[in-house]
Symmetry: C2
Subunit: 339 residues, 2 copies
Amino acid sequence: MIKILIDCFGGDHCPEAPVSGALAALKANPDLYLILTGDESLLRKELEGKAYDTGRLEIVHAPEVIGCDEKPTDVVRLKRNSSMMKAIILLRDRDDIAAMVSTGSTGALVTGALVRLGRIPGVIRPAFCPILPTMDGGIVGICDSGANVEVTSAHLRQFAIMASLYMENVYGVRNPRTALLNVGKEAEKGDDIRRETYGLLQETESVNFVGNMESRDLLSGKYDVVVADGFSGNVLVKTTEGTALELLKKIKKDIYSRTLYKMGALLMSRMFKEEKEFMNYQNYGGSVLLGTSKVVVKGHGSSKAVAVEKCIEQAYKMEVSRLSGKIETEIAKYEHYDV
Amino acid sequence: MIKILIDCFGGDHCPEAPVSGALAALKANPDLYLILTGDESLLRKELEGKAYDTGRLEIVHAPEVIGCDEKPTDVVRLKRNSSMMKAIILLRDRDDIAAMVSTGSTGALVTGALVRLGRIPGVIRPAFCPILPTMDGGIVGICDSGANVEVTSAHLRQFAIMASLYMENVYGVRNPRTALLNVGKEAEKGDDIRRETYGLLQETESVNFVGNMESRDLLSGKYDVVVADGFSGNVLVKTTEGTALELLKKIKKDIYSRTLYKMGALLMSRMFKEEKEFMNYQNYGGSVLLGTSKVVVKGHGSSKAVAVEKCIEQAYKMEVSRLSGKIETEIAKYEHYDV
């Protein structure tokens, strides 16, 4: 039995989305056991009249609510009875629990995970690794995308190792083509950190390093893993999501501007629906936090049930594939370099 | 008469694109005088049979060619007879020449401009400011987008001042809404440089600072100027261009997958053409280099005639509006802070 905690509050569609996502995941995976954290009466109400295996679902009461503007360090210190902090503490304290999923505040989750859970031995900094679809039908993982706005080349090398193992173990990508985000392809481009990292990755046997990537090529399908500092990685991921969303919105608006276009769009309605689904990040699960001692998956704040279900699936696969142990083994090979 | 140099070699469509762009600009602006640099015989051949005002067009012979892999510092030192370096040196030496336009190597152009032209008094670092279209039909300028991969908060403040003046003087944007690219909206987000810059911009009266911008909102139309370090600004601009291009390419491919879609697309062909034109950076001119002692405009390497014409127009407007003098005046107000 794989036990996973679900933080049921903090996202835009709470608690419906986490609860429905949890029930769907329970149904799909017979060896899954879920623990929901949050206000018990609200959760019981949400579960009312729904069919599920009661032997594999548990509720842990955690009534405190985290406000939008609360500082992450305050949340960690003061909100121990919030659904998120309760989940983090249970994850730390109970050996039988493997992972947690949350759609709450990113800052509080990162801080809470770092302070309370700690890291896999050897890992300097945990990092986020969200997934985006590529235009040839594949996917690409970006690591880091926001947990560390300042990094060193040693951090970036570890991000490359962790993300490669993640893509290989959770998504079955063989020997992931791993690139370094930079302002040009040539080895000497970028700042000192980028040049140092280029050299380090060339001599890192655990990583299939294919050179620098310009951000223009993210969706080309030529790369499986992109390594970045949390600042520019965040810009890379959010710009991609934002541009796709804005462009599809514009096309939709333009269609409504003329009857002729509306007729054309009618013939193409299935295609437009598919394009929209293709770029919908809800379909690609959450952004996993790589490098914490136990598995943490962060779903988008706007996650609906299907997105939460995907997050649970990711957490499940990370645990089943024993990703943490593999990260520890590979990282240890380069430990002499650690800062 | 406004005299502008056109570097006619180095881009993908040379010398046709620069020459045709130059002739179109000459025709449109009666007080424009253009000096083409490059291999004279090739330029004469390109001009053959074309009608233009010979009294306002001059050729300066510069036969050397810059290779793709040449180091910028080598180009500046050794390729004085290349079309680009010749233009930079003429721009420096001749008081009657106001500006130059190039579609050649970005690295060589930045290095050459910094070493040979120098800066507007008070400016610490010149920076690129390309323009992107927003979804509400407006435009947004991003400064810097690649000239400085490492920056301080003093640099970023100057980028904000220069780009605001540019948007106001060249594009007529009144009191440009200026934002700082960051990983979140809150003032305390990002690294120390971002937090310092936030404070500085709040007390900079020359800038209408509206706070942090998340990259997701770049095309929303809520911002006129976005300030960034050259690394993340480069990621911001290239990711936007790349995502739009890849998405339109995917839609085109999907249309050809079914007859029904092809029929629909036929009714919408004009709309699709407009979307493509909308996202075509050729239509928005080049990336101007703000802060050099004379005006330098960098066109995309793939620029066609229309893009080169737009670049010339930008250079012309920058000169006519006396942008450099205005930058000097505003920058001087905060000089006590300079590093």
